[in-house]
């Protein structure tokens, strides 16, 4: 029985979608009774735009980049509302022991310049991430592509360095969008995406027009999309409410009342796995002391963080990174409470004296407010925390993981394996707390290769317990995405990997009214 092949994908992903689905993907909550209308122009505003804006998928650094790139390019797979991969440019996906993957490409797909999509384009697009000169954001992820080659006139084969059942999910990321073979200069964008580039001024705006030859028939619905960045949140919300833009990203929780109260506008909440975590380095004092770590974990008032900082637009978390909506979430882990007595007990055992600085930044959303709240709680047990707010720019290179007590900010990852491998494994490039747990490392590798989904889920459950109990990371809440939009904009749903419908709104929405 070649159970290593065709059907194992279904088991691993738990979703039955293998055939290519054209047309509208169903999303809970969107008005499916209406038929989409063609035409219209939408202006959308994200929260950042600078001269670093890029048309190169490998360099995408923020929501604006991802949105722009999903408008112009397509990938081998695409995520749906439950974060399962759907076929996109890859019509069929087969795998052998999750190590050798074969992608059968959709026929008749054309780039914006008219040339056809060929395996060479896919091979080039995937391999270029490994080249240091590309300065790709996903170089470490691409390192597992041992070999990528065309295995047929319409087929690409990817051999991984080790089994990884999550490859289809990984390839749905905007960094892995497919570009034309040999493209080095991204002054313009030649992709297979739903829109063609009309204008690109980095730091000002991007404009794209409908690609009538898009491989999804009937889509996209909009004639034109303009993407701008408005850094100042009040200005962003005002732009929405004054009619200047129809869709905005990252509405502050405190502005939701105003948006919802204004007729013709609404806020869409998307619960996600985004979190801002307390990072306690295991290689520095006093955070290397496990009692101190426990004290800090008990000191986190999660309900207060959820209500005071995020005004309810968050989900209480349990010091482990898998959100309740994820299929591998282990519900049996008892919720750690906010317990001053236990915190005091552990603090005493840790015997920490003096002032402990806690580094926070605007780059990690909510961290400054959470640090201030922790400082208040700490005072109650006799611990002196002083908040050290540092500028957002340069945070990731100069402060993240460099102070005993600080904050990190991790965007949702669809693949639990990717999350654990990149952020929690002992040798992970971004092992924030610097913890080393052999059992955990072994579980990561074992789960990655495990074909039985139930067994896999159990392993991921064990990993969550390990992180909860032993890792130097405190995760207070999972933060929801808040998009503000005009009610004339229809078809906007949630794909919990980011706001703006996982940054893919452009091909799904239409204007009505």
């Amino acid at each position: 029985m070649d159970n290593g092949k065709r059907n194992s994908l279904k088991l691993m992903l738990g979703v039955g979608a293998m055939a290519s689905t054209a047309g509208i993907l169903t999303f809970p909550g969107s008005a499916q009774a209406q038929a989409p209308k063609r035409g219209g122009r939408v202006r959308a505003a994200t929260s950042s735009s600078s001269t670093a804006d890029t048309l190169d998928p490998a360099k995408g650094a923020n929501g604006t980049d991802y949105t722009r790139q999903y408008m112009l390019y397509s990938g081998l797979t695409q995520l749906d509302a439950s974060l399962a991969p759907q076929p996109a440019l890859a019509e069929e996906i087969r795998n052998d022991k999750a190590t050798t993957w074969t992608f059968k490409l959709r026929k008749g797909v054309k780039f914006h310049d008219g040339s056809p999509l060929t395996p060479a384009d896919v091979v080039y697009s995937l391999n270029r991430h490994k080249d240091a000169a590309t300065a790709s954001k996903v170089k470490t992820v691409a390192e597992q592509f041992a070999e990528v080659k065309a295995s047929g006139p319409n087929e690409v084969q990817v051999k991984l360095s080790g089994p990884n059942a999550d490859l289809p999910v990984i390839l749905a990321a905007s960094h892995f969008l497919i570009v034309k073979d040999g493209t080095r200069d991204f002054a313009t964008a030649n992709g297979t995406g739903p829109f063609k580039l009309k204008e690109f001024k980095p730091g000002v705006r991007s404009v794209a027009v409908r690609n009538d030859g898009y491989w999804k028939p009937g889509q996209p619905y909009l004639d034109e999309v303009e993407l701008i960045g408005i850094q100042d949140e009040p200005a962003r919300v005002n732009a929405l409410l004054s009619g200047d833009v129809q869709l905005v990203l990252q509405v502050d929780p405190r502005s939701t009342g105003r948006v919802n109260a204004t007729p013709g506008y609404a806020v869409l909440e998307t619960k996600s796995g985004l979190y801002t975590d307390l990072v306690m380095r295991q290689d520095a004092a006093p955070t290397s002391n496990p009692d101190f770590v426990m004290a800090m974990k008990y000191l986190i008032d999660r309900e207060q963080a959820k209500n005071a900082v995020f005004r309810g637009f968050a989900t209480v978390a349990n010091d482990q990174p898998i959100p309740p909506s994820h299929r591998y979430y282990f519900a049996g882990l008892p919720q750690r409470p906010y317990d001053l007595d236990k915190a005091k007990f552990h603090l005493k055992k840790a015997n920490v004296a003096g002032n402990v600085p806690i580094v926070a930044t605007a780059a990690a959303n909510g961290s400054i407010d959470m640090a201030v709240l922790m400082q208040q709680s700490a005072q109650k047990i006799g611990l002196n925390l002083s908040v050290n707010r540092v500028p957002a720019d340069g945070y990731w290179s100069n402060h993240w993981m460099k102070h005993p007590l600080g904050f990190g900010n991790i965007n949702p990852r669809t693949s639990a394996d990717q999350l654990f491998t990149q952020f929690f494994k002992s040798d992970a490039p971004w092992n924030e707390s610097g913890w080393k747990n052999e059992q955990f490392d072994q579980l990561v590798l074992a789960a990655r290769a495990e074909p039985d989904d139930a067994k896999r889920k159990k392993m991921y459950g064990d990993m969550q317990v390990l992180i909860h109990e032993k890792c130097g990371i405190g995760i207070p809440v999972f933060i929801s995405f808040l998009d503000g939009h005009s009610t004339k904009l229809k078809g906007l749903g949630s794909i919990p990997v980011g706001g703006f419908m996982g940054f893919m709104f452009a091909e799904h929405v239409w204007l009505d009214g």
């Binding site: 001269t51 670093a52 360099k59 730091g203 100042d232 004054s242 340069g394």
Partner: protein, 320 residues
């Protein structure tokens, strides 16, 4: 005759000195920004930085060379008119600046045209009515205007005129302006906000300088001779007060190029101040240097004009 010769000498002198000042500014900026933690390569890669990707990118940007070498290279390029390549935007710095500078100049010009006459009028009126109700009212008004933080003025203006009344757009991207009406609507709120900031200094300095002149003996003479107050103010006091006034105007106007990052951010106006702030954030050194040069050059020009005006208007200064 002597005036023209003096003016010409001043301009020549300032040209030479101006070049020196530009050099000094470039050295200061280079040194200060080299103190910043992190560099363009680390910024570009952000959370996904690893030692080897950072090293590769650094080599691409030429950041692996030592500081003085990079500075010398940049200076060499500057002399030949090549401002270098932006790290983050991968386009020539001159192109980047060429897209933003005209916008900044336009905003500054419109604001100047509105604010300078207004400030002068307010200052002179206040000085003429010294101590009276008008003086006090004007002082209070200008002071209150400058006291409110810029972002508050801008946000209130947007709430009132864009969100509630829908008379004006919330953003001033100013991309395709077809007629005067659209121009007005796009620029109204940014200019209003900036006026709040700059009018106060110019008006108050005008008032103080004119008042000073009004208390001088030659003015008493004119008044004794029977001259009317307005005539006294305009014909006698004002010309002698022009020096300090011109200086205050020059300072305020130079603010309008580099200090307007808040207005540019809130109204999404693609100007050069936010370009520089973004460049500092991204550690895009060539752009930071070039912007600093632009601001310095503009300031020197404004100050030169102010000094020329001061010298030509004050007879006693002509013999320096």
């Amino acid at each position: 005759m002597a005036d023209k010769a003096l003016a010409a000498r001043l301009i020549l002198n300032r040209l030479g000195v101006g070049v020196l000042t530009l050099l000094v500014v470039s050295a200061i900026i280079f040194t200060i920004t080299s103190l910043l933690p992190g560099d363009a390569a680390e910024e570009a890669l952000g959370q996904s930085a690893t030692p080897e990707t950072v090293a590769a990118l650094r080599a691409q940007y030429g950041l692996d060379k030592p500081g003085p070498v990079r500075y010398a290279n940049w200076l060499g390029g500057l002399v030949t008119g090549n401002l270098g390549q932006s790290f983050t935007a991968s386009m020539p710095v001159s192109d980047l600046i060429a897209t933003r500078l005209p916008k900044s100049l336009l905003l500054a010009a419109v604001t100047a045209v509105v604010s300078v006459p207004l400030a002068l009028a307010i200052g002179i009126l206040a000085a003429m009515g010294r101590g009276g109700a008008l003086d006090r009212a004007l002082s209070l008004a200008t002071l209150s205007m400058v006291a409110v933080p810029e972002f508050l003025v801008a946000t209130i203006a947007v709430l009132v005129f864009a969100v509630k009344l829908r008379w004006l757009p919330a953003l001033s991207n100013a991309v395709d302006i077809k007629d005067a009406g659209q121009f007005f609507r796009t620029y109204a709120m940014p200019v209003l906000t900036l006026c709040f900031v700059v009018i106060a200094q110019m008006a108050r300095m005008t008032r103080a300088a004119v008042l000073d002149q009004l208390s001088a003996s030659y003015v008493e003479m004119a008044v004794l001779k029977g001259a009317k107050p307005a005539r006294v103010a305009l014909r006698h006091a004002l010309p002698n007060a022009i020096g300090p006034i011109a200086n205050a105007v020059a300072l305020s106007l130079s603010y309008l190029l580099g200090g307007v990052v808040i207005v540019e951010t809130i109204f999404n106006y693609p100007g050069i101040a936010s370009l520089m702030v973004d460049a500092v954030t991204n550690r895009d050194m060539p752009v930071v240097q070039a912007c600093a040069m632009v601001f310095c050059f503009a300031y020197l020009l404004l100050v030169l004009v102010a000094d020329l005006v001061a010298i030509l208007s004050n007879p006693r200064l002509r013999h320096r």
